[in-house]
Amino acid sequence: MRRIGKVMKIAVTSTGKESASAMDARFGRTRWFMVADAETGAWEAHANEQNMNAVQGAGIQAAQLLVNLGVEAVITGHVGPKAFRTLKAAGVSIYLSEAATVEEALRLFRENRLSRVDQADVEGHWS
């Protein structure tokens, strides 16, 4: 796989652990993160189980998980303000997509057909 733009590692929120799995529209409470490594061309699946069931702050925790994995961009359906703030602080780019599958989302990204978001698109749940 060729290098995807300037990005080395990109994560896609996923309902399953295959690149053919359907995308999960949620960020913090996604079931899986499928992470594509641009250098090796490999997909890696990371379960988000722990954060999925968090009472609060799921998006913050999920964002930290991705940062610790060295992810530099993420494709998801929706992102709330707290996850957004965390991802931004770490310099992770956020792209929104309604693609059916994880692979499809990555393809759209490589074809430059996804736009980067500069603000959260869903309201957080305040206290």
């Binding site: 968090a54 609060q56 702050g57 799921a58 913050i60 925790q61 964002a63 930290q64 940062v67 707290k82 703030r85 965390t86 602080a89 770490a90 310099g91 957080g124 305040w126 206290s127």
Partner: protein, 306 residues
């Protein structure tokens, strides 16, 4: 009758059901029976009880929350604080510490465990508590500062400032989210004010779920009972929820409200309606108090001889 202090929360699934009208008139009715009464306005985002009670405020203090703050030059980005926080209120990414005030409970664990001593707890004002008295009842209200979101902290400060009056009426925020739960949390019983419309019934069922989850005894006040359909009454009957007060759809009530007048004072014909209701509510509440907490009926002779 027993002398145990009684705290009643007046809540509703949505705004505009007449919650404040009911709470204020009940406060005055209870006071008329010779009890000491306090009215706590916990609707801190839009408090309006003062419009009717017209209290003299004699003291005022800030409601604060304790929030951690990072001293950046001491922090090495180790991430201990983010791991220790049970509320996910801290993230550490790329050695930067992010604090999410809306999730923080002020428990202090992060500053205690930071190996570098880089976190300090700072008290921040989020609102104001005002204490006074008006129309024969003690009055306390909380006002959330503009731009703040920590309603529960202000409500907690109002409850902390409460006195030991025999009767406490808590005017709760509308809805079923965290602020309401904070207001209702240590009440002995809950009055749910509703209107018999389809929307009213929908919001009532949500409020009933919340109150049941909190394991509070509750009953219903039906406002403008002659306005909608009979589904709400049927629902209450089915669910075995007592309706302790029904108020007619009377244009004059809306007028007194608009003028900032107390219903039972402006329209004295409603006073007996509230007196009846108060007796019913009182008896009903006392009947539901946990056994062990109910003291024996005041009996001075026995106390004196034992």
């Amino acid at each position: 009758m027993m002398d145990r202090p009684l705290k009643i929360a007046v809540a509703s699934g949505k705004g505009g059901t007449g919650k404040t009208t009911v709470a204020v008139s009940l406060a005055l009715t209870a006071a008329a029976t010779g009890k000491t009464v306090q009215y706590l306005d916990c609707d801190v985002e839009e408090p309006n009880g003062h419009i009717f009670l017209k209290p003299q405020i004699h003291s005022r203090f800030p409601a604060t929350v304790r929030l951690p703050e990072v001293i950046e030059k001491k922090c090495n980005g180790c991430g201990v604080c983010a791991d220790i926080c049970a509320y996910n209120a801290i993230a550490v990414v790329k050695e930067k510490v992010l604090i999410f005030p809306e999730l923080c409970r002020g428990c202090g664990a992060c500053s205690l465990f930071c190996p570098q001593g880089a976190l300090v707890e700072i008290s921040r004002p989020v609102g104001t508590v005002e204490i006074g008295a008006g129309a024969g009842v003690a009055f306390i209200r909380g006002v959330l500062s503009i731009g703040q979101i920590m309603s529960p902290a202000v409500i907690a400060a109002v409850k902390d400032a409460a006195g030991d009056q025999e009767i406490t009426l808590l005017d709760c925020p509308p809805g079923t989210s965290c602020p309401v739960i904070e207001a209702v949390r240590d009440a002995d019983a809950v009055l749910l004010v509703t209107e018999p419309t389809p929307f009213g019934l929908h919001d009532l069922t949500l409020a009933v779920e919340m109150t049941r989850a909190l394991e509070k005894p509750f009953c219903v006040v039906l406002n403008r009972f002659d306005l909608g359909d009979d589904k709400t009454v049927a629902y209450c009957r089915e669910e075995n929820i007592p309706i302790v007060l029904s108020i007619a759809d009377d244009r004059r009530i809306a007028e007194t409200y608009a003028r900032g007048e107390i219903l039972i004072e402006a329209l004295p014909s409603y006073a007996p309606v509230f007196t009846d209701a108060w007796e019913r509510i009182w008896t009903w509440c006392i009947g539901r108090m946990p056994e062990k907490e109910v003291p024996a009926p005041a009996n001075r002779e026995r106390t004196a001889t034992s």
